[in-house]
């Protein structure tokens, strides 16, 4: 690794693929070719590969973390990887692609700016390609890179690549992904992963790493609608700051400045921002995703779970949610149960009043007849809450448009929801 400047931006992306389409090899290749693998890691991988009788280092071993996975040769949970180039720092949420692990894909996608979807050039689009793409779309990922892998096994054929591009375009027109990029690669040999391929001069769109370094995601942030969910109240019990009262939280969206008139929800009281602080530093403005402390001019009643907004741009207050849900738990959904809904910094009791339909995410077909809702199911439901919460459409705001359901007895997270208002 060369000396990286500290002033580079962050890109979070997710990778989805099944056991055989070379996802682990691709990630291993990105880490290896961007010189993010340390000598001792590479030595360990080379030794393990030799033990298995392999000729060259199996780069996929770099990313198989837990013993159970190494033994079975599969990835069973979301794993996070890190690498940096002089242009950017990257966080990869590496998710397994088996059908039973939709929940992991949803988890990895929830914090990603971009998704890489792997397609085996020999097989073309499979059910899982549809599934991964649908999840990326549902979780609001605006940038997808379709990597057509194993091009070496189809003689680097441009025709085959064009065929897959055209099939994917026709399928994805039903989804909500504004930016889709196609790159023909060979993860095994490294073509178009970090360096441009010599085998495919017909591809002029650059390598995958090239695209990851350049893709512009900052404009995906919502700087229009001011939403500041209050995480906690800061009241020092020390002499130097006896009268200080600040509201701690992370800006969900919008830009806040000292002097701004604000409204506190749900009370509806109004005040003005006196000061915005980060530690002991005073900021001229605050925007997502900064964690700050806001001080108001007036001594108003504000507590955890409240939201600071602008008077003429407010979220929707509602006790009834018509929402898509991904069921995450081993335990099937219990229609009679009361769950706890966690949303921003607040909680409410929740009852699932009705399941409208279950979605077949391979065909996008809506099934209205089903026995029960089990792990990895995606459903459309009506949820009734004990108290209203303050929400926005997920496409406009990933923070105020998302929630989880928690089982009050086991404490487990059982479902994740995205709101389409």
């Amino acid at each position: 690794m060369s000396s990286h400047p500290t002033t580079n931006s962050l890109l979070r992306f997710t990778t989805a693929g099944s056991v055989d389409d070379g996802k682990s090899t691709l990630i291993g290749r990105l880490l290896h070719d961007s010189k993010s693998i340390f000598e001792d890691q590479l030595e360990a991988v080379t030794a393990s590969s030799a033990q298995k009788g392999l000729e060259h280092a199996d780069l996929s071993l770099l990313t198989d973390g837990l013993r159970a996975e190494r033994e079975q040769g599969i990835t069973i949970d979301v794993a996070y990887r890190y690498f940096a180039t002089p242009k950017r720092k990257f966080i990869i949420a590496d998710t397994p692609g088996h059908i039973q692990y939709t929940r992991n894909m949803v988890t990895g996608a929830s914090t990603a700016d971009l998704a890489i979807i792997l397609v085996d050039a020999r097989h073309g689009l499979l059910e899982q390609t549809h599934r991964h793409s649908f999840i990326a779309s549902m979780l609001g990922i605006k940038h997808v890179v379709v990597c057509v892998n194993k091009m070496d096994l189809v003689d680097w054929s441009e025709d085959r690549f064009r065929e897959i591009v055209s099939a994917y375009r026709s399928f994805s027109s039903r989804l909500d992904i504004p930016d889709i990029k196609f790159i023909p690669i060979s993860a095994l040999l490294g073509d178009n992963v970090v360096d441009a391929s010599e085998h495919m001069p017909w591809h002029t769109g650059g390598s995958l790493l090239n695209h990851l370094e350049e893709v512009f995601v900052a404009s995906d942030r919502n700087l229009q609608d001011c939403r500041f969910p209050v995480q906690s109240v800061i009241r020092p019990q020390i002499d130097e700051a006896r009268d200080f009262r600040g509201y701690a939280g992370r800006i969900a969206s919008g830009v806040f400045k000292p002097g701004d008139d604000v409204t506190i929800l749900p009370s509806g009281m109004t005040s003005r921002i006196r000061e915005i602080r980060l530690g002991n530093k005073v900021l001229a403005k605050a925007f997502p995703p900064l964690s700050v402390t806001v001080v108001l001019e007036d001594d108003v009643d504000v507590s955890r779970g409240d939201m600071i907004v602008r008077e003429h741009n407010q979220p929707t207050s509602t006790q009834d949610l018509d929402t898509r849900l991904c069921w995450l738990s081993d335990e099937p959904m219990n229609p009679a149960a009361r769950y706890i809904l966690r949303h921003t910094c607040t909680e409410a009791k929740a009852i699932i009043k009705k399941v409208h339909y279950k979605l077949d995410i391979n065909t996008l077909h809506r099934e209205e007849e089903f026995d029960q809702i089990t792990m990895n199911d995606i459903v459309r439901v009506h949820i009734r809450l004990s108290t209203p919460i303050l929400v926005d459409d997920y496409r406009e705001n990933r923070t105020t448009g998302s929630f989880i359901l928690v089982d009050p007895h086991s404490g487990l997270t059982v479902a994740a929801g995205v709101l389409n208002l």
Partner: protein
């Protein structure tokens, strides 16, 4: 899109970590920060101070003292605690040994690293902590790549990799039954280089051990260990004076030093950026087997 709204990746990491630390204070009754004296726990403490400023950090620092600590680490710890006006709780491995709960390892590779798990779990139980914030990072070791921010531990302090709660968006679920507790890792998404860049940017004080200095060392295979009364020497081993610094701070008996003349933060950051060996590469405790870390985590190690 105004260029004014661009953030450095360190700003994003800082914002995420502060959010996580504040969630701990809000969701738990009796949280604590596990303080090892190493750079990662120092950064966690710095972030906690920022998260609650101008108030004091609303939870104690917990130090598991193996009795084999570098004296520099202990002096640094006491100074920091006084500066921040925060409570310090020390769990003593020596006490755990004296109480007969664990047996000291013997031989040249003897270390108290494994023993501290018992002391940690006892300290958690004694003070009824329901959340302990640690400075571990996902990039440190293979078994940590899947670690959650809020990592659930059962009544026995054990980590079950197959039974971790999914974490989506910034919605952290700290619901727990009596006896269960959480380990929380605000630095999950930081790399070693991020830590050094941040320490340099924020001018955070560190123990002198991180900077190049002259020291009596024992060279064992490819590992350089600090010579001390706690280290059991092989017959042919002789201390030699070397110019070294430490990349991580564990016990005197297991923490490998590297030869270095980096004596400023800038030089260290440049050295880390150019280095080709992972920082845990010098830790004898991880080399015991390729799943060494996973096994210790399951038992309740940090």
């Amino acid at each position: 899109m105004n260029i004014d709204y661009n953030l450095d990746h360190l700003d994003e990491l800082e914002a995420e970590s502060i959010y996580v630390i504040r969630e701990v204070a809000a969701q738990f009754e009796r949280p604590a920060i596990l303080f090892s004296g190493g750079k990662d726990s120092i950064v966690v403490t710095h972030l906690a101070a920022k998260a609650f400023a101008p108030a004091r950090i609303p939870m104690p620092l917990v130090h598991i003292d193996t009795g084999h600590n570098f004296p520099e680490t202990l002096a640094f710890r006491d100074g920091l605690v006084e500066n921040l006006g925060v409570r310090l709780i020390v769990g003593s491995v020596q006490q755990t040994i004296d109480d007969g709960l664990v047996k000291e390892e013997t031989g040249v590779h003897a270390s108290r690293n494994r023993l501290q798990t018992t002391t940690l779990l006892n300290t958690i139980e004694e003070h009824a902590f329901d959340a302990c914030i640690g400075g571990a990072r996902r990039d440190e070791e293979k078994a940590r790549a899947k670690e959650r921010f809020f990592s659930h531990r059962d009544d026995f302090g054990q980590w079950d990799p197959k039974n971790q709660r999914p974490e989506l968006w910034n919605l952290f679920n700290g619901k727990h039954r009596p006896g269960e507790h959480f380990r929380v890792f605000p630095l999950n998404n930081w790399t070693e280089l991020d830590i050094w860049n941040y320490i340099t940017r924020e001018q955070i004080d560190l123990p002198s051990l991180y900077f190049a200095h002259e020291r009596e060392c024992i060279v064992r295979g490819t590992t350089i260990l600090a010579h001390s009364e706690y280290l059991n020497l092989k017959p042919d081993e002789q201390p030699v004076t070397m110019q070294v610094r430490f990349r991580t701070l564990g016990d005197l008996t297991i923490t490998g030093a590297i030869e270095s003349d980096a004596d400023t933060l800038e030089k260290i950051t440049a050295e880390v950026a150019a280095t080709r060996i992972t920082e845990r590469g010098g830790r004898m405790d991880d080399k015991r087997s390729s799943s060494a870390m996973e096994d210790r985590k399951k038992e309740g190690y940090f």
